[in-house]
Symmetry: C2
Subunit: 582 residues, 2 copies
C-alpha cells in the first residue's frame, strides 16, 4: 500500500474496509484494556475512530489483542509444512513465528531455508527466519549442507530474515573460532533493508565470565534457562529471556516467578520444539499466556510478552500492538481470564474462527531437490564383523537424550556380532542419505527392548541421516530401504514387512499431510514399535537423538561411534586391557 493511501484512510478520506465496534482492546503500548473501535484498511490498522466502513462488525463483549508471536521455533518438530502448521497454530492465536530452520538446513542448506521463507507466503502466518548458525552441527557426521559465513551472507538480506539463529556452538564463541565469529560479524551491520539483525543464543547453564563473553560478543537472547537463578544471571547481563514450553523442555513454571513490572519487557514466549500431538492438545503460545495468567501474571503483561516484546526484540515495528500503521493481526478473545481465542484476523481478514482455520491455504512448494541419496546398500551392509570380545554399547535412558557408554561381550555368530534379545542388545545403524557416500555407521544399543523386527527414521538430529535399530541385518535393511523408498519418514518392519509408516517426503523431515493425520500416524508407528516389544514411551524420538554427537555420552553417526566427552570417534571394540578405563 502506498503511504499516501494509508494516511488518507487513517484520516477518513477513504472508506476503510472493516470497522470493529463494541470490543475492548488490549493496548500493549499504553498498558490498558479499553473500549475502542478499530478501523482497518488494506490489512493495516488505521485508527480507533471511524464513521463508516465497507463492513462493520459488532464484537461487543469481546476483547481484542494483538496476534501472538512465537519468538523461537523449529517448525520441523511439528513435522508438517508451513501451511499445515499455520492451520494448527493460527486458530490458537499465533500470527507470526520466528523460525530457525536448523533441521531442514542441515538437509538442504540454503534451499531448505528458502523453502521455509517461500512457504510463509502461502498461509495466514508470518514466518520470519533466523539463519541456522550450526550447519553442519559437528565435524563428526555427514550433513546435507554446509553453511559457512559466506553462504549465510547470501541469505542475510533476504526479506523475512531477521538475523542469526541460536549459536549453539558457544564454545566456538568463547574460544573464538574464526568461522563462528565470522557468522556473528555478519549480523553486525548487514541488512540492506535497514533491519538490524539479531543473534540468538543457546547456552544452557553457561555462567560467569564465559557467559559474559558470550553476551559481549553480541548474543541477544537465550531460551535454554531451566531455573530462575540461571535466567536471572542472563537477564542481568542483557539477554532477552525466551521462556520455552516445548514438548521435552518446559520452563514456564520455573521462570515465571522472575518476571516483574520492571523487567517484564525483557521476556518472550517461545515453543522451540513442540510435537504435533502437544500442539493439537495443549495449544501454542496461547497456552503459555493462559498458564501465565492463571499463575497470577497481569494478563496485559502476559500479552505484551506474547506479542510486543518479540516485535521489539526483532525490530518488527508493524507487529506487537493494535495501533495505526501496524498490521491488523488481531485476536478476538472471549475474556482475559480463560483467554479463549474465538476469532483470528490476519492482515485484517478473519482467517480462523472457533478453533478452525477458514482462510484458504496455498499448497506448500515441494523443495526442488530430492533429499534422499542413499549409496548402494544390502543386508550385508549392516553386518558387524566381530573384531574383539568386548564392545561399546549405547545405553538408552528412558525420556532422556543423554546416553550411557556401556561395555559388554556381544553375542557372536559366524564371526559376526548379532543382536541378543535376551539381554536387550540390539544392532543400530546410521546410513548417510545426503550424498550417496555409502557411509554406514554400525553399533550396539541397549534399552530399546525390541524383540523382533526393526524401526528406522530419517529424523535423526542434527544431520538427519537414516537411523535404524533392529534385531538383524535383514530387518534393518528392510526398514532403511522403506524409509529411503518413501523419500524419508518413520518405519516399523516386522518379519520383513512394513507394519506402520509415516512418510516424510519433504526433506525426510516433513509430511505433506495435516497435523492431525501426522499425529495419528505417529501414534500408529509408535504403537507398532511398541508392539515389537519396546517399552520406550516413543522409540522414534529416542532413536532420533542417538545420532546427536553433542549430547553425552556415546552416540552413533554415519561415520561411526562417537565418544561425546572426547568429541571424537571411538572403535566399537575395546581392548580387554582398556576395560577398566572405559
Amino acid at each position: 500500500m502506498k503511504l499516501e493511501e494509508l494516511i488518507a484512510a487513517a484520516r477518513g478520506e477513504v472508506e476503510v474496509d472493516l470497522l470493529i465496534e463494541g470490543a475492548d482492546v488490549v493496548n500493549t503500548l499504553s498498558g490498558e484494556r479499553r473500549r475502542s473501535d478499530v478501523a482497518i484498511y488494506d490489512g493495516t490498522v488505521v485508527g480507533f475512530d471511524c464513521e463508516s466502513a465497507k463492513k462493520v462488525v459488532d464484537l461487543s463483549g469481546m476483547v481484542l489483542a494483538p496476534g501472538f508471536i512465537d519468538g523461537h521455533v523449529h517448525l520441523e518438530s511439528a513435522m508438517v509444512t508451513v501451511p499445515e502448521y499455520a492451520r494448527a497454530v493460527v486458530p490458537r492465536g499465533t500470527t507470526a513465528v520466528v523460525a530457525d530452520p536448523h533441521e531442514i538446513a542441515n538437509v538442504q542448506g540454503a534451499e531448505g531455508i528458502r523453502y521455509i521463507l517461500d512457504s510463509s507466503r502461502l498461509s495466514p502466518l508470518s514466518v520470519f527466519v533466523m539463519l541456522p548458525s550450526c550447519v553442519p552441527a559437528t565435524h563428526l557426521e555427514t550433513s546435507g549442507a554446509r553453511l559457512d559465513a559466506e553462504a549465510l551472507s547470501k541469505l542475510i538480506d533476504e526479506e523475512g530474515v531477521l538475523g542469526i539463529a541460536e549459536v549453539m556452538n558457544y564454545p566456538g564463541v568463547i574460544f573464538r573460532d574464526p568461522q563462528v565469529l565470522a557468522k556473528i560479524r555478519l549480523a553486525g551491520k548487514k541488512k540492506v533493508d535497514g533491519h538490524r539483525p539479531r543473534i540468538d543464543g543457546h547456552c544452557p547453564l553457561l555462567s560467569g565470565r564465559d557467559l559474559a563473553a558470550y553476551v559481549a560478543a553480541g548474543i541477544g537472547s537465550d531460551h535454554e534457562c531451566t531455573s530462575s537463578e540461571e535466567a536471572k544471571e542472563k537477564l542481568r547481563l542483557g539477554m532477552r529471556i525466551m521462556i520455552r514450553e516445548g514438548t521435552a523442555a518446559k520452563n514456564l513454571d520455573d521462570l515465571l516467578p522472575l518476571v516483574d513490572e520492571v523487567n517484564s519487557r525483557r521476556f518472550l514466549f517461545v515453543s522451540d520444539d513442540r510435537h504435533p500431538s502437544d500442539i493439537l492438545r495443549e495449544g501454542h503460545i496461547d497456552s503459555m499466556v493462559r498458564r501465565a495468567v492463571r499463575a497470577g501474571l497481569d494478563p496485559i503483561v502476559a500479552i505484551q510478552i506474547a506479542s510486543l516484546n518479540a516485535a521489539e526484540y526483532f525490530g518488527l515495528r508493524d507487529l506487537g500492538a493494535i495501533a495505526p500503521g501496524r498490521r491488523a493481526d488481531i485476536l478476538v478473545l472471549e475474556d482475559l481470564e480463560g483467554l479463549a481465542v474465538q476469532k483470528v484476523l490476519k492482515d485484517g481478514a478473519v482467517v480462523a474462527e472457533g478453533g478452525c482455520l477458514i482462510a484458504p491455504l496455498g499448497k506448500a512448494p515441494r523443495p526442488v531437490s530430492e533429499s534422499m541419496r542413499v549409496g548402494r546398500i544390502g543386508p550385508g551392509s549392516f553386518d558387524i564383523k566381530a573384531e574383539g570380545n568386548l564392545a561399546r554399547v549405547i545405553g538408552v535412558i528412558q525420556n532422556q537424550i543423554i546416553t550411557r557408554s556401556l561395555l559388554t561381550r556381544p553375542k557372536v555368530d559366524d564371526e559376526k556380532v548379532v543382536a541378543d534379545v535376551e539381554r536387550d542388545l540390539l544392532k543400530m545403524a546410521v546410513v548417510e542419505r545426503h550424498r550417496g557416500t555409502g557411509n554406514v555407521g554400525l553399533g550396539l544399543v541397549s534399552g530399546f527392548g525390541l524383540e523382533r523386527g526393526a524401526i528406522a527414521t530419517s529424523v535423526a538430529h542434527d544431520s538427519h541421516n537414516i537411523a535404524a535399530v533392529g534385531i538383524d541385518s535383514e530387518e534393518i535393511f528392510r526398514a532403511v530401504s522403506a524409509v529411503r523408498d518413501m523419500g524419508g519418514g518413520l518405519v516399523v518392519v516386522d518379519d520383513g514387512k512394513v507394519t506402520a509408516s509415516l512418510p516424510l517426503p519433504i526433506a525426510g523431515l516433513l509430511s505433506d499431510r495435516s497435523m492431525e493425520e501426522v499425529s495419528e500416524l505417529i501414534e500408529e508407528v509408535v504403537g507398532a514399535a511398541r508392539d515389537l516389544g519396546s517399552a520406550l514411551e516413543d522409540p522414534f524420538m529416542t532413536l532420533s537423538f542417538l545420532c546427536l554427537p553433542v549430547i553425552p555420552e556415546l552416540k552413533l553417526t554415519d561415520r561411526g561411534l562417537v565418544d561425546v566427552n572426547k568429541f571424537d570417534f571411538v572403535p566399537l571394540f575395546v581392548d580387554e586391557d582398556e576395560e577398566g578405563e572405559a
Copy 2:
C-alpha cells in the same frame, strides 16, 4: 576493538583496564539494584566478575547507573559549541544526546549538520543526530539552506545519524505533501550500517484521525504533549512519549502521572530547548530523574526512562545499561534518593568529578563557511514609507510566542512612519543574512517598551535572519550592523553606541565561549535592553520568535509581514474599509 579481544577480556584471559568494586549497580535490564563489581576493558563493560585489573577502584557505598540520554535536544538553544555543552551536561550525568540541529541547518544546511556530528568527537559526550525535516521551515522566509529529501538522503547514512527529526510540518504529512512524504520514505529502509532510522514527531494537540494518520505514516515519538490526556492518546496510538522539560515548555509534572508499570518503557526524558542559565542552575536529564523520583516514581524506572528507553527507541544497542558489550558510560551516584552525580565515566574513563568536567576537550571546529552575508544596507533601509493611515502592528504578549495582530494609526513624519514611544509603538526589521539578497522586512511592534535605542539578534527562528526592534532607522541600522560585524550575536545599541553584546560567531547561533560566560553575557544584554525601558523578561527571546511564521497571529520575516492564520503575506497598511474585517 576486535571481537576476539572483547571476548578474551570478558573471559578474563586478558587483564581488564578497570575494576570497580564495592558499589551497587542499577541494572536497567533486570530491574534491580544490586551489589556487583563492574569490569571494563577498552571503554566497554565486559562483566561483573573479575579477579584482577590494571586499576581497581573501590566505590563502596556508591550506586552506579548507566549514563543518561537526552532523547531530543536542539543544542543551539544552549548557544555554545558541543564541547562546551559537554562541559556543562556531562558532569550532570548526560553521556549521550540525540540532537536535532534544526537551527544550524537552517543557516548552514548539510555543513551545519556535519559540524555538529564532527564536534561530537571532541568531547566525552556521544552526539547522535536526527536530520532536520524542516529546512527551510516555510516558504515565507529566506533561509540559509534548503534540505529536500534528496539532500537528506546524502546524510542519512552518515555515522551517528539516527533518522529524521521532528516532522513539525504535520499538515504536510496528513495532507500528503510529496516532499514531506519523500523525507519520511527516506527513513523507511535506508541505513547501510544496519541501523533502522526513526522518525520523530512534533504535533502539539493533534488528535483523533489526524493523529492516527500522522502515526500511521511512521512517526514514532512526540515531545509536545502538554497534558496527560494528550499524551495518553498518543501513547495508545503507538508514539513514544518524550517528556520534555525545556526552558519555556515544562511538561514533567503534567505527564508523570501517566507513567505506570505496564507502559513506562514507552517514555523518554528530553530537554528540547534549554537555555544556558537553566542548565547551569537546574541541570539537565538528571534534574528530571530527580524530580520524577521525588514525585514518587521508582528510581529504577526513572533511570530506565533516562537511559534504556532512549537506547531502545533509537536502536542504540550498546547504550542504556551497564552490561557486557555495552559502552562503559557510567554514573557514580551518592544514592537513589538525591541522585547526586559524584563521578561520570565515559567509555570507561572518569571524565567528570564533583560537578566538573576533568576530561580534556578538543576545540570545536569552526564551520568553514561565513554565515553572515548581508546585502548593502544603510539607515535608509529601515525607513517605512507611509502608504496609508491604518497599519498592522505585531502585538507582543509577555512570556508567549504567539502574538496578536493589531491595527493602529501610526505616527507619520515627513511621509515616513516613525516610532511612537508614548504609545509603545516601535519599528521592527528583519534583514536577510544568508545570501546577501538585501531583503529587509519592515513592520511595527507593540509591547517591547523600549524608550530609546535598539536591539538586534541573529537568533531568530527558524531562518535566523537578523531581527531588530528600535526607536528609529539609525539606531536599528547601528544594531543590525553590529550584529553583522561580529559575525552574529545579540546586541544592544543606545544613542548609536553598542552598550552590550553577546557575539555568536558560529553560524550566528553559537558562542565559542563557555556556558557560564554565555550565561553572564546574556544577563548583560538582557539587562542593557531592559535599561532601554523594556519591561519584558527577556526581550531577545521575545524578539527571536517574532520571525517564526508558523506561530499565530502576525509575524515578520525578511520577505515581509505574515498573517499566520492565512499563512501568507499581508501588506503593512490596511485600507480603511478593511478595518472592520481585520
